[in-house]
């Protein structure tokens, strides 16, 4: 029996040590994702610029789904690969988070996002020479001869003779047919090329084009041509997206906050352990080991589930740790009461855990209810808080109740640790 008790203690400590080793590796390999508020970067909410009542809920969902894919392609084209694009289906919007790339400090996020949110519907239209704006540019007529969906591929190319940049479009079968028909019919007439409602160029048709290629001239430079080609390639959004919230955070200030939070966390943790050991002696030491377990398991689950830690998320972790400590206080006070009533150590420990259990269970369940509701209904900061709180409370239930119980049972089985003074009772 005695050896079995020691086994429990040793087993729990080994498990915690292994977890600590794994957690240390995750931290060392930078596998802890931090939110934009800590890392710096851009957080943006994009909302469809449509009358939502004109579309069914399903159409909106489908539209958002395809918008997400297209936004991803557009970001790829801009070489922004480290990003997250999420659909907030409760509020029908898209949330984009782009952390700063190393060395990048200033770019104008709002302009970039507005660029990103354009529908980018490419159309070739017949012109009506009487319909021009004040600068003499053609206005859209709606007589579409070719559109973006008929484009197979688009790429930038240098137009040797004139030394200018163009975008070459590879048309699909239907595109080839309609382009040949239109260019045949409109020889000597201009065809206007629009991106959304903006005129890009309006070349005059010199002859019927049957080759399956269309060319957009009038690009200022290679970059502009490449960007236009990429936008056409990634396709049109089902609706325009407008940025209703843009938050761009400097990485330096965020790092400062994170460093301070981590240091304060370590110092706070050590002080809490010291307090627990001074007040509860041997069980306090065991609670500290349990708390350490809670800390490393939280790090591991955050690393493995790839959750981003935000500042509110740190709030959730603090609360979970606070509740873990509290569970220990509740249990240990019970054990002391049992010891004062003259129970044996072993019985007191068992009874203490048993009688404290309902209190710990009920308080943890109510907190979990809160976390789940906040996660389901909250947005942004509230979600981040709810996520770490939920995980933390679930873990703290294991470490503060199960792990400390096993360790305490183990310790009480060792004859050297049988002195009641060690448990805070004379």
């Amino acid at each position: 029996m005695r050896n079995y008790s020691i086994l429990k203690l040793v087993a729990v400590i080994i498990v915690i040590a292994v977890c600590a080793f794994l957690a240390f590796n995750e931290v060392k390999n930078d596998n802890i994702r931090t939110g934009i508020d800590i890392r710096g970067g851009v957080y943006a909410i994009l909302e469809p610029d449509i009358d939502k009542s004109s579309l069914s809920a399903e159409e909106v969902d489908k539209g958002l789904e395809s918008a997400k894919t297209i936004l991803g392609k557009r970001l790829d084209a801009r070489n922004i690969f480290d990003r997250s694009i999420n659909i907030d289906s409760v509020n029908d919007r898209i949330i984009i988070e782009i952390p700063w790339a190393a060395g990048e400090t200033n770019f104008n996020p709002q302009d970039q996002l507005n660029e990103l949110g354009k529908t980018a519907l490419l159309t070739f239209q017949e012109v009506d020479k009487s319909k021009v704006d004040e600068n003499g540019n053609y206005l859209p007529t709606g007589k579409i001869v070719l559109q973006g969906t008929q484009v197979k591929d688009a790429y930038a190319a240098a137009y040797q003779e004139k030394g200018e940049w163009v975008v070459v479009l590879d048309l699909d079968e239907s595109g080839v047919a309609s382009f040949a028909e239109a260019t045949g019919r409109l020889v000597g007439e201009p065809i206007a090329i629009f991106m959304d409602d903006q005129l890009i160029s309006a070349p005059v048709v010199s002859q019927k084009i049957e080759g399956g290629n269309a060319i957009i001239t009038g690009q200022a430079n290679a970059t502009e041509a490449a960007e236009l080609a990429a936008t056409i390639r990634s396709g049109a959004l089902p609706f325009r997206l407008v940025a209703t919230k843009v938050d761009s955070i400097s990485p330096q200030l965020g790092t400062g906050a994170m460093n301070v939070a981590v240091k304060a966390g370590i110092v706070g943790f050590l002080l809490v352990c010291l307090f627990m050991i001074l007040v509860y002696r041997l069980p306090g030491l065991i609670a500290s080991i349990g708390l350490f377990g809670l800390a490393v398991l939280t790090i591991l689950s955050v690393a493995w589930t790839k959750i981003s830690i935000t500042l509110p998320g740190i709030g959730g972790i603090i609360l979970a740790i606070g509740m873990g400590v509290d569970a220990n206080c509740v249990i240990y006070e019970r054990i002391k009461e049992e010891l004062r009533e003259g129970k044996t150590l072993r019985a007191a420990v068992d009874q203490g855990f048993h009688r404290a259990f309902t209190a710990v269970l009920d308080s943890n369940v109510t907190t979990l209810i809160t976390a789940v509701v906040l996660y389901a209904l909250g947005s942004g900061p509230i979600k981040g808080f709810a996520m770490t709180l939920g995980i933390g409370v679930a873990i703290s239930f294991i470490t503060a109740v199960t792990a400390t119980k096993l360790m305490l049972q183990g310790v009480t089985g060792i004859s050297a640790f049988k002195n009641k003074w060690l448990y805070g009772v004379k």
């Binding site: 508020d37 909410i45 104008n108 996020p109 709002q110 209703t244 919230k245 843009v246 938050d247 761009s248 400097s250 330096q252 200030l253 790092t255 400062g256 906050a257 301070v260 939070a261 304060a264 966390g265 110092v267 706070g268 943790f269 002080l271 307090f275 627990m276 500042l311 509110p312 709030g315 603090i318 609360l319 740790i321 606070g322 509740m323 400590v325 509290d326 206080c329 509740v330 240990y332 006070e333 009688r355 309902t358 710990v360 009920d362 308080s363 369940v365 109510t366 907190t367 209810i369 809160t370 509701v373 906040l374 389901a376 209904l377 909250g378 947005s379 942004g380 900061p381 509230i382 808080f385």
Partner: protein, 315 residues
């Protein structure tokens, strides 16, 4: 164990809480609460400068250029990259029904660059929030809290049915409102702008205080079974006294952690962490107070009234 007589003095405890809440309310009526851009909508621009600049001057310049009301502030933060260096940021809050257009933003940055010593390639931050989104964040947060409260009431009513669960649930929620009200008072009293941080802090406080209250209710529930010969007053007093050491110890440990965070944030001038930890400290103290001195006594008062009514009906 020292036996406290909390029930005898309960009116004193209620009075202290009410007094603090009333003071907060008076300040709220006089000062109002300033909503942060995050809730009110508008644009915030932060620009790093070499050394401290005159924020009043910046305010006037930008206000004249935009024709919109502007609040300017300077902030100092320790540079995490270089020991002893300080980052100076000029912060401009332009709260309005519409966020700034790109042209207006460029104008603001130009004006500041022309008139002040702006750091070349320094930190710049921008936040722009449409008012609809800001209001929605606030409303969603409140909605989530209300729904969570309803579920907690249901759960507590069920689990604490032996001590008239509904009364226990409602008084627990009243204790939580008390904590949030006291924490909220911080904002009108010290004229802090109310932002998203408050929601996080309030949620943390609610979670912690509820935990405290539940542990005490658990003891009351148990003692009603064990102490059949005692009066309800004695049972509640005993339960709170028995939970006292644990409540104080666990609050002290949590306070140790949060105060450490507050001190570190103050030393390094990290305003986001300071704004988070200060309301937490106030709320944790308020939460412990309400768990010990408000929730249980209030529950007992409710029960006594209810049984008195029943007795009157019978008579």
């Amino acid at each position: 164990m020292k036996q406290l007589n909390i029930i005898k003095n309960q009116n004193k405890y209620f009075f202290i809480s009410l007094a603090i809440i009333v003071i907060g309310l008076i300040f709220y009526i006089v000062n109002g609460v300033q909503l942060d851009i995050q809730f009110s909508g508008g644009t915030r621009i932060m620009i790093e400068t070499n050394g401290e600049v005159d924020s009043n001057q910046a305010e006037v310049l930008v206000e004249n250029a935009l024709g919109k009301s502007v609040t300017a502030q300077t902030q100092k933060t320790n540079n995490p990259g270089a020991e002893g260096e300080v980052i100076y940021m000029l912060r401009l809050d332009i709260a309005s029904e519409e966020t700034l257009t790109p042209e207006e933003r460029d104008l603001v940055i130009d004006i500041i660059s022309e008139n002040f010593d702006v750091k070349e390639g320094g930190n710049q931050e921008m936040l722009s929030v449409e008012p609809s989104i800001g209001r929605e964040t606030l409303l969603n947060g409140l909605k989530a809290v209300v729904i969570a409260s309803v579920l907690i009431i249901l759960y507590v009513t069920w689990r604490f049915s032996s001590m008239h669960g509904f009364a226990a649930a409602i008084t627990a929620i009243i204790a939580l409102l008390h904590d949030v009200a006291i924490t909220f008072a911080l904002y009108p009293v010290f004229k802090y702008p109310l932002g998203e941080v408050f929601i996080t802090a309030a949620l943390t406080i609610i979670g912690y205080s509820l935990n405290n209250t539940i542990v005490i209710y658990d003891r009351i529930r148990e003692n009603f079974k064990l102490m059949r010969k005692s009066t309800p007053d004695e049972i509640v007093n005993t339960s709170i006294s028995q939970s006292l050491t644990r409540t104080i110890n666990s609050t002290v440990t949590t306070l140790i952690a949060v105060v450490t965070l507050y001190i570190s944030a103050s030393v390094s001038n990290i305003s986001s962490l300071k704004e988070f930890s200060l309301p937490l400290i106030i709320g944790l103290v308020a939460g412990t107070y309400s768990s010990l001195f408000i929730a249980g006594p209030l529950w007992l008062t409710w029960r006594k009234r209810a049984s008195m009514k029943r007795a009157l009906k019978k008579a």
